[in-house]
Amino acid sequence: MTDRPVSPDSVALAAQASSWRSAYVHVPFCARRCPYCDFAVVAAGEPGAEETGRYVDALIGEIGLESGPFPIEAVNFGGGTPTRLDPHDLERILIALRDRFGLASDAEVSIEANPEDWSPRYAAALREAGFNRVSFGVQSFDPEVLAYLGRRHSPDQAERAVTVARSAGFDTINIDLIYGAPVETDPSWASTVDRALTLGPEHLSAYALTVEGGTELSRSVRDGAPAPDGDVQADRWESLAAAASSIGLVRYEISNWATPGHACRYNLSTWAMGEFVAFGTGAHDHRDGTRARNVRRLDAYVERVERGERPRSGSEHLDGFERKRERFMVGLRLAAGVEAGSVGTAFLESAEGRRLLDARVIESIDGRVRVGRPLLTDLVARSVLSVSEEDC
């Protein structure tokens, strides 16, 4: 962690983040699949769900296939549910990463955890293994919303998990929330926000419930169940933003808040075009200007790694102008904004850009461009995609 607390939305931090390197490890196992989830997940009972040891071996095997050194500032274990793995397995993976790439002494080492898997013993073991940040998939403190989301934990369990993590000595505790489920009401959201903030997390992620194709949720919506409403979600986001800032949480990305010194490095560097290696099913990395992704299927992934092959399913190399445009577009997600550069300058001068400036959707300050109305970031991004090389 940095010595002096830096504001999560500072320009300096964003600039620094672009040079950070990080690592992502995907752990696909879950007790069951939540109805809204489209991540690469293997639910209990599905083929391969029991063979976690073999998967961990494959992960370590894949790490061995990636060239080092690649000194890492942040590691993130995500899922799925990484906390379904034995702390010992998690530690083996961490060691493999450190050996292969090198890990900064103050690196952020983070793991996603489901509250129901959490115990003092487990927390202590993770600390022991080297984890210093934990992110809880709390989603809501309203039992009705939790039921709607198909979650297995209770509001109390979530609170206890945070307390336990706190005593175990994690530097940064994050709470993930999901807002805008059709069963959620204004008061229910207000109380979720209140209970989450009362726990005093150093970090908060709040995501708008998204109906992803191919999920159980999308099927029921197609069959007539109510869908989340964009305006309601905007209301929820605004009320959260107000409450969070009143207790000193600073928003540094559309969906992420942190207290000074606790912005998630992995997250920041993603939006600042930092490079990262990634391992596991469906994982995608960004290295040497190339973005590549792994196969999503567990069996295919394991078999290919066991054969000594990279388990890739595709890759893309962006050069020159396209890379600049992507950097600009992606950087718009950050509260610090992004350096205008040639793409941003051309964009600001385009008819679209001027319209967005006029409507205060974007702002241009000190050579940087920021989205003033973060919930319209995709709209801005689409306009940026209209900027062509000739415009620059």
């Binding site: 992502y24 995500g78 993930d176 992620s205 709040a206 995501y207 708008a208 998204t210 964009g230 305006d231 979600q233 905007a234 986001w237 559309i254 969906s255 993603t270 990262f276 990634a278 995608h284 990395d285 960004h286 973005r291 992704r293 893309e316 992507e326 577009m329 992606v330 319209r355 967005l356 006029d358 409507a359 959707v361 973060p374 919930l375 319209l376 970031t377 995709d378 709209l379 991004a381 689409r382 995609l385 209209s386």
Partner: protein, 600 residues
């Protein structure tokens, strides 16, 4: 050459769909003009649009040779005409070239409005009429009733009415004989100076203007010089011919005959429909009466979706006008839609057809503004100006009154729907004239109504309220002062000229409200709240707000899969509809089209 005594020139006229073109098919077939193998239904409907819609749009002349029961051979010149009211000027023109008319009545429908209107045209023109009841093969046919009705209209007896089925061919021989026996031969003077009537004219890319003519006196010969009297144009005859319906070149057309004429002239304006062709060496000094130009009834702005297509639209209109002299247009500028044309049409069907032809034959993508009739504004200064577009209307301060065109309307309806029709007409500001009974079951109602009230969806309403039984015909009457106002539609405070309209004060609120709520649905949410208002002058009569767009982002954790995200955004961008900027507001192209479909 054929002696005039052996020539019969006639038009087939009827209400729409009563079977004129199909009857023409049978006549072509029976006279051997076309073999059964080459026959196709409604042979003379040659345009794609005619075939698709199953209606005749343009009159079409064809020559037949008929050997009568007496053994003598005759030359028939037949003109198939359209039945739709928009194209009644085609009927008038065709009748001018004929001595006779075959008036067709559908046996299952009886006399309808255009049956009457067209019968009157033929009577006024002094033509001999052969009444024919068609479709006697239909199970629902009531030939006796139809025959009685048509006999009543013509003041004859039912046994003079020929009964046919253009489908089965039954009765066709009787009709062919009646044409020989009952229709007069042309009466021109064979050795008089040439007088030929141009009754139709169209443009052919390769050959220039092709004119259909009827020789009234004298004769016309290939390669000889002729004069078009109205334009005082002297040219040589390049080609003469007839259609059977395949074209056949001939050297001479003599008194009473019908055929086509090509001179190599490319400018359609030099060869006007209704003009008289005469000899240059021995000219006549008495031109034929000619025609009155058809007056456009409705006007609409046509704008290319893509502003760059303006020139192409101009060219397309020019070309279209070569074949459709009823088309009038002048450039128009709209703040919302850019550069385009205000185009005059004979009616809504005509408008639809022109638009479709422009889009299809000239590959244009067009937005059409709400159709409007031609108003007249009486200014405070005493001056009167034409108002063909709501934009032409001066501000209230400068305005003394507005006049609108009225029409004489004739409706034929089964007696049981008289009350329904009266209600409908009353809602449309109609004033009842006389009512007569064609038969105990069917009445003929006369009204005076504002044109604006009938051109829009009156016909559909009439049809649906009378279960399809009533029919309608109208003709221009005079202008009259009415309490009319312009309703402006404002988007974000800016008037959008394309949506403004002139309506009767009592309907202003309804129009405003309907337009405002439709636009609110059609226009996607913008970056800011957009008020949509309807106003008369400065007074707002309706208002709704398109709420600002608030969320357009994936506010979900999607980690590093940026490639996928970018591709998704790119797809969304491609899928984004074509937009027109109106002030600060992005309006999708379809919104204009859909909003203007508003049926009031």
């Amino acid at each position: 050459m054929t002696a005039p005594s052996r020539i019969r020139n006639f038009s087939i006229i009827a209400h729409i769909d009563h079977g004129k073109s199909t009857l023409a098919d049978r006549l072509l077939e029976r006279t051997g003009a076309i073999s059964e193998r080459d026959m196709r239904a409604q042979m003379l409907d040659e345009m794609d649009l005619e075939r698709e819609r199953g209606i005749t749009i343009k009159a079409n002349a064809v020559r037949l040779d008929y050997i009568a029961a007496s053994g003598e051979s005759y030359q028939f010149n037949l003109i198939d005409t359209p039945g739709h009211v928009d194209f009644s000027y085609e009927v008038s023109r065709s009748l001018e070239a004929c001595e006779g008319a075959v008036l067709v009545v559908d046996a299952s429908q009886g006399v309808e409005a255009q049956t009457l209107a067209n019968a009157y045209l033929a009577i006024e023109g002094g033509l001999e009429i052969i009444p024919v009841v068609n479709k006697i093969d239909l199970p629902a046919a009531d030939p006796d009733r139809a025959a009685a009705e048509v006999a009543g209209v013509l003041g004859g007896t039912a046994d003079e009415v020929i009964r046919v089925s253009a489908k089965t061919g039954e009765g066709i021989e009787d009709l062919l004989e009646a044409i020989v026996e009952r229709l007069p031969a042309p009466e021109g003077v064979e050795d008089a100076p040439l007088r030929a009537l141009v009754f139709d004219s169209f443009y052919d890319t390769y050959r220039g203007v092709v004119s259909h003519i009827r020789v009234v006196d004298g004769s016309i010969t290939k390669r000889e010089p002729v004069r078009f009297m109205a334009t005082d144009l002297d040219v040589d005859v390049d080609e003469l011919g007839i259609r059977r319906p395949a074209t056949e070149e001939i050297d001479r057309l003599t008194t009473g005959e019908v055929g086509y004429l090509i001179t190599g002239v490319k400018e359609i304006d030099l060869i006007r429909v209704g003009d008289t062709v005469t000899d240059v060496t021995a000219p006549t000094d008495e031109a034929l009466p000619g025609y009155r130009e058809p007056k456009p009834m409705v006007f609409s702005g046509l704008f290319p979706t893509d502003g760059d297509d303006f020139e192409r639209l101009r060219e397309a209109l020019e070309k279209l006008r070569l074949n459709d002299s009823s088309l009038v247009y002048q450039p128009e500028t709209s703040r919302a839609l850019g550069f385009g044309f205000r185009v005059g049409f004979l009616g809504l069907l005509h408008m639809e057809i022109v638009r479709e032809r422009l889009e299809r034959e000239y590959d244009l993508d067009l937005v059409a503004t709400a159709p409007s009739v031609a108003y007249r504004a009486n200014l405070a200064s005493g001056e009167q100006i034409p108002v063909r577009s709501p934009q032409d209307l001066p501000d209230a301060a400068a305005l003394a009154s507005i006049e609108e065109p009225f029409v004489k309307v004739m409706i034929i309806t089964p007696s049981e729907f008289i009350g329904t029709v009266m209600d409908l007409v009353q809602q449309r500001r109609g004033v009842m004239g006389e009512m007569t009974y064609l038969s105990p079951e069917r009445a003929e109602l006369h009204y005076r109504m504002p044109l604006a009230e009938i051109v829009f969806d009156f016909f559909d309403q009439l049809k649906s309220k009378t279960r399809g039984y009533a029919s309608l015909d109208y003709e221009p009457d005079d202008y009259q002062i009415s309490d009319l106002v312009r309703v402006n539609i404002l988007l974000n405070g800016v008037p959008v000229d394309a949506f403004s309209t002139i309506v009767h004060r009592e309907k202003a609120y309804m129009y405003g409200k309907a337009m405002v709520s439709r636009l609110r649905e059609l226009i996607p949410r913008q970056l800011f709240d957009v008020p949509v208002q309807a106003a008369i002058g400065t007074r707002i009569i309706s208002r709704e707000t398109i709420k600002a767009r608030r969320k357009d982002v994936t506010a979900k954790c999607y980690g590093g899969d940026i490639t996928r995200k970018r591709k998704l955004l790119e797809r969304q961008k491609e899928g984004k509809r074509r937009m027109k900027m109106v002030g600060q507001v992005e309006v999708p192209q379809e919104a204009f089209v859909a909003a203007l479909k508003l049926d009031m």
